[in-house]
């Protein structure tokens, strides 16, 4: 009897040897990965499929009389044929470009200056961390205060210098609110940009620059023909990452303007939020979310391609 059992156990252990190996902490990655994968399936996988499903339905919480109905691509059709939606897309692209463009230009300039052998570098690097440690909401409300039409410091400074003649209600007008929110977003993103550019600049060997100087290249030629081409991969990756983050920026716009005035700062993420939790139109909100999702997928794919070109993935 005992021998039979032990034989059986032996057999079953052989049969389950593969399984046991799969669940081995020594030899298999499975148990290490499983908790994370399960968690992410529940917390990311499910919501994505849920939002995709919702985007195919008519589901307005404030209109329970209409019920929840599967309506196929109808929400997308409504979006695609709405001039307002395309305005939102254009606004988002414009806002993102303005903010990222500012970050890249200013960031590159400052990185160039900081990469020179100068004194007080540690002090500068320390100060550079300030926007990074400032919580996003704090930055947003501080900028809101600085851009205040009546008592704001921005007006005061511009009046003192003589650039403007009278107070501007920055966050009360479409064009200026658009710019003001982008400036706040730039401020938050600059440290990352500068640090990445500095790392990129450091990676350029001194001999290469030296050789170019020997050949009689002046400062501008050195920048255009040597430094910029060598920085290209770093710039591309930084721009792609920053674009994704900026595209998603909700924490700056919402506390500053709530998407206003006259929808001038209503980017796609604000739009998705307002549709879902302002109008409680989960179907349309879901459709906008899926559009954002597709935009980001394209960007992520491009990011992966850039990384693969560098042979790092």
């Amino acid at each position: 009897m005992e021998t039979v059992t032990s034989q059986r156990q032996e057999k079953s252990s052989k049969r389950h040897g593969g399984l046991r190996k799969l669940f081995s902490l020594e030899k298999s990655p499975l148990l290490y990965l499983l908790p994370m994968i399960l968690f992410m399936l529940i917390m990311i996988g499910y919501p994505i499929s849920r939002v995709i499903y919702l985007s195919f339905t008519q589901n307005i919480l404030t209109r329970p009389d209409l019920g929840v109905e599967f309506i196929g691509l109808s929400n997308y059709w409504t979006l695609m044929t709405s001039a307002e939606f395309w305005n939102t897309v254009a606004r988002t692209v414009g806002w993102t470009s303005l903010s990222v463009g500012g970050k890249v230009l200013i960031g590159f300039g400052i990185a160039l200056l900081l990469s020179k052998p100068i004194g007080f570098k540690k002090v500068y690097m320390f100060l550079l961390m300030v926007p990074w440690v400032t919580p996003m909401v704090v930055a947003a409300v501080s900028f809101r205060w600085m851009f205040d039409g009546q008592f704001g410091t921005v007006n005061y400074l511009l009046l003192t210098v003589g650039i403007i003649q009278e107070n501007i209600i920055w966050l009360g007008q479409a064009a200026t609110a658009f710019i003001a929110t982008a400036i706040a977003d730039m401020w938050l993103g600059l440290p990352f940009m500068i640090l990445v550019f500095m790392a990129g600049l450091q990676a350029i060997p001194e001999e290469v620059k030296e050789a170019a100087r020997m050949d009689g290249a002046n400062g501008m030629q050195l920048l255009g023909k040597v430094i910029l081409p060598m920085m290209k991969p770093v710039v591309l990756v930084a721009v792609t990452l920053s674009t994704i983050w900026t595209f998603n920026s909700f924490g700056v716009i919402w506390p500053m303007t709530r998407g206003g005035p006259l929808e001038s700062t209503r980017t796609l993420v604000v739009d998705a939020y307002v549709r879902s939790f302002g109008a409680f139109d989960l179907g349309m909100g879901g459709a906008v979310a899926v559009v954002i999702f597709i935009f980001l997928m394209i960007f992520t794919y491009m990011y992966k391609r850039l990384l693969m070109k560098q042979g790092e993935m």
Binding site: L54, M146, T153, T300
Partner: protein, 280 residues
């Protein structure tokens, strides 16, 4: 002699440009701090003054325990942040270890998917998440916020940690195995201490993320005693009259914990981030 002079001029120009830039960069913080020491009338006066003759430190006490009771949101955020960090590391570290130290089919894809999820704005997922958290009856709880935060902090933490773990030489671990250590023991005794800076980096990242996030509490929390700082700060601005002096005092209070934490790990954070940005 003139060469020396032009060198000084150049240096002066560089520092001049940098000082101008950093003055602008510091402006929001300087203005916030300066306003936080104003009286209500003082903040609403023209022209704005930078140096206060009579700094109102009382604003901080007022905000902390007075009618705004900002200590409540502050501790809520501390609890949310700490729990998010613990849960993130518990789930992300083993996964990052597996990706860094094992070779298996689909490893590259897994890494790509991890990176991809990091790029989704909470806005894209929030409707689905909201309904799920509602189903678990976790709306209006800090637990609900923590779990949701982790969905966004885990991916980048896995990414950061896997990069870090890959750089720890195999030999160190193998030596432990030869000595009869099991893998788990080896991880605890050798790998975790060696990757402490990486873990700190991921932890700080997660903490900052949860401290910063506005959207999730904005949607999950209706009970005002459960608001974190991000939500409490926007509430100041929601009223008809904004008490800027108190709002700015609250802003400074909300910044301090992050600043302190950052000061400890700044070096690793910058290294890790730039390396991550360049190497991917």
């Amino acid at each position: 002699m003139s060469g020396q002079k032009s060198k000084w001029l150049k240096r002066g120009a560089v520092h001049g440009a940098l000082i101008t830039f950093f003055l602008i960069l510091m402006a929001p913080v300087i203005v916030a701090f300066s306003t936080s020491l104003e009286t209500f009338q003082g903040a609403m006066s023209w022209p704005p003054s930078l140096i206060k003759e009579n700094p109102q430190w009382i604003n901080y006490a007022e905000v902390w325990s007075g009618r705004y009771n900002f200590s409540g949101p502050f501790f809520n955020s501390l609890i949310i942040g700490a729990s998010t960090v613990v849960l993130t590391i518990l789930l992300a570290f083993p996964a990052a270890y597996a990706i860094a130290k094992f070779t298996f089919i689909g490893r590259g894809w897994l890494l790509f998917i991890v990176l991809m999820t990091q790029m989704f704005s909470p806005v894209v997922l929030i409707v689905g998440l909201y309904q799920q958290i509602q189903a678990y009856q976790l709306l209006n709880t800090l637990t609900g916020i923590v779990i949701t935060n982790c969905a966004f902090t885990i991916p980048l933490s896995v990414w950061l940690l896997h990069g870090f773990l890959k750089n720890i030489p195999e030999e160190l671990e193998e030596a432990a195995f030869v000595d009869g250590c099991s893998r788990v023991k080896g991880i605890i005794r050798i790998v975790i201490p060696l990757s402490a800076p990486g873990i700190a980096m991921a932890a700080i990242y997660s903490y900052i993320w949860s401290w910063n996030d506005l959207l999730i509490p904005l949607i999950y929390i209706t009970d005002s005693s459960l608001r974190p700082v991000s939500l409490a700060l926007t509430d100041f601005a929601g009223q008809n009259t904004i008490y800027w002096h108190e709002m700015m005092a609250a802003s400074i209070i909300a910044t301090v914990p992050i600043a302190i934490m950052f000061a400890f790990v700044q070096k690793y954070f910058v290294q890790g981030f730039t390396a991550g940005a360049i190497k991917g």
